[in-house]
Amino acid sequence: MSQHYYQESTRAVSSSLFDTASEARKDTQFQEFVRKVIRSPIFQNIMISAITMNAVFMVLWTDYKLRYKLFRVFEISEVLFVSTYACEFFMKVYVDPINYWKDGYNLLDVVIIVIILVPYSLHKIKGKHYRYHNIADGIQSLRILKLIPYSRGIRTLITAVGQTVYTMASVLTLLFILMFIFAILGFCLFGVPEKGDLDNWGNLAVAFFTLFSLATVDGWTNLQEQLDKRKFTVSRVFTIIFILLASFIFLNMFVGVMIMHTEDSIKKFERELMMERHMMLTEEKQLILKRQQEDVSRLVNTQKSGGKGFSELVEDFKTTLRHTDPMVLDDFGTSLPFINVYLSTLDNQDATVKKLQELYYEIVNVLNLMLEDLPQEKKSHSSEILSD
């Protein structure tokens, strides 16, 4: 089935690729069809199973004997998997060529396809006995990263954690700078050719490794022993200061910073979720309300088309209600506490309004008095203005 799609899409791709950049797509129906296929759960299940099988096969091929015996199976499965991935890539690019490149997970797909092509091209270019062939085979294990977009949980986790990437990068850069300083210091102090410890501090790269070993406090006592053997007095101070700085302070600061940022990002995420839900609910409520109002207005309009008027209908309905008919309600708007609270609040409001009114009366009285006290011509002047 995938071969069939492959062929169709190649034919269609060649015709539409030239159109898309400048004008509207002419093949909208097929595009819709392919889009539906990509979004369908069957397609996703196929992809997930293909990637899982690929991962399992890779586990099997690590064993040399198995690879030797089942060589043909190996080749065929490779072809199948590579074709599936290429299909998916082409279909997705066909559906949306421009926006395809904006999504990070699609870029990951592209990188993995490039990685898949590396061993083959390496074989072709460098011949059979290149010493780095096993490296190229090794990085094929990255194919399992294709599984990540299909799992919603991991995606949210990565989004949450991904926002802490900047902090992480800055802390790591700081650590690198610190190690750089100490490496140069250590090289100058301990890596001097005659009586220095050349294995560990001989050149910058080795010095970096030594310092990293000190930072992760693994086997640092051995390294310290080496320095002690060569009777460097400063070495102890040097080592201890570096371990305090790098391991105790820096690496734990890393933890602290991560905790802060994880909290923030999770809170933001949850708040967004709540807001989304809230908005959906209010939208639904609005919809219901609007529908009701439409019904009412429709009924109001029927009075024009003969029949009884709306208010008359309502009055008729009211007369059918009997006092002895009970209606049991338990919503808040008709409950006693609400009525009590509401009426008390209204009473308080009335009290305030009354006070306000009294104040107004007083103002008016005072102004009247002022008006009377004014001399005559000004009074006539102001009364003219008043009468305007």
Binding site: I144, G219, L289, V300, L374, L386
Partner: protein, 609 residues
Amino acid sequence: MVTLQQQGHLKLARADAICSRLIDTFSLIEHLQGLSQAVPRHTLQEITDPSRQKKLMMGDQHQLVRFSVKPRHVGHVSHAQRMLSRLPVRCSWRPPLSLWAGWVLASPIFSNFIISLIFLNTIVLMVEIELLESTNTKLWPLKLTLEVADWFILFSFVLEILLMWLSSFFLFWKNAWNVFDFVVTMGNCAWMLLGKFIHHLCFPQSLLPEIMKLIGVSGESVWLQLLRICRVLKSLKLFARFRQIRVIILALMRALKSMTFLLMLLLIFFYIFAVTGVYFFEDYSRSTLENLEYNMFFSDLLNSLVTVFILFTLDHWYAMLQDVWKVPEASRVFSSIYVILWLLLGSIIFRNIIVAMMVTNFQNIRNELNEEMIHLEVQYKADVFKRRIIQRSALHVFKPNVISQGLCDLIPCFFSLDLEASQRKISEDLSEASKEESEISVAEEGAAEHTDAEHSATEHSDAEHSDVERGDTECSDAEHSGVERGDTECSDAEHSDAEQNKAKKYMKDSSKKKSSKAKVYPSSSSTSSSASYDSFFPTDKLDWETLVHENLPGLMDMDQDDRVVWPRDSLFRYFELLENLQYNIEERKKLQEFAGKDLTQFQELSILG
């Protein structure tokens, strides 16, 4: 509904909401469209009342009954309660065995007995292990008692499991602790039966050693050791009983659950680096150099996985790397890149992400627990508030009886005599109602006294309805909106009218859990009061507002237990009046604004003049 046409230009959200509530409750639209057949017009009470039911059935047999479907929170329903309400159980002569088993299991004597047995088990096990290898013959009676204790304990545990099965077989397997119990007890049984018997039987050497070899059992065999562990695990069950530990375990499990995706991501990375490691270090694994310590560490996938984990824990990574460098064919660059990358990614970054997520999860769980407690507190406060309101309305009726006689000479009393009499009757009812409510604590009675002060404010405001009328006629020339003022007066009168109507027209039927009898008391919130007070405490209004703001959400949430029975026409009238009230309040607000603006203009003019 009428106002919909009159004030069509004025759109108030509240009025619309009330209107739609009215339409909803009465299914007005269906009625008006002539579909009154499809609308339920009777309630459950009418069906359960036999005389009314007969009348209904004789009238029209196709009428619909409205069932109120609000879910009620009844709390936890235990298995025993469910069983009790089943028909076979209720109709049988004696209760089924499962009920008895459930009762036994729940009784405190039995559970304490089991706890003491677990303690005993631990002690017996400890002593046994000490005495296992000693062959001191004087200790033989002690060993005998220990064995008897062993068998007795096993027997009682098996009995407990049988009882639980008797009580409910399927529910047994749903609880994880029960499954754990079952596994441990089975292991225990196996140990006792197999181990002990064969141990005893091998003392006389008559048993063939081949059979023993077949079963693979001896005093020090691995499986026996394992089975013995089962007995120790039984003591873990003790922890289930303690609440705090259960809470901690629950919190841990919740935290772990939310970290599943993180662990999945970690597993993916483990896989990637393990497979890559096999390929990267092929040369190293196949090298023929001697004294390579970590030669087999990357030889195949399983070893590679273990090595990746070792690197994750930062153990001897530099030594391993230096070992790899000894082999000349292995490329130094790629191997160091591999190791450094994995250390950074896995051990430093991932481990700190795990710590950070655990910390936030624990904080979240703590916040959730706090929220639950706060929720309960809010409910409690809302309950207190509600009782206060009811008490206020009760005292509201009390007050005039006491004070109206005192102030009758001071202020023209607006009482009519029959109103007074009815109020006395109402106050009597309320007194017995408030006696029933006497479960209210002393603090609330203190609060009730405080509400008297607020009380006076509301009574004052009611008298002002009539005062406002008088005051208005004085200054109708000062304001040019006198006519509209009269309108608001009418609406205010209607407002107080509505209150009086409501007071006489509804009964309350509170179906609280504790009291099964229906309490009937007409609540008249502010109708009866016309005695006015000169004192007015402005601070009380602030209190009232903040009080309402604080307690209103709680009140809205908790109003699930009380149902109010309304007569139908009063309910309709109530909705109509409420809607009108909204419009009137809005108008009054506008009038206030006009008055204010005019006055300021007037002020400015006079100052200029």
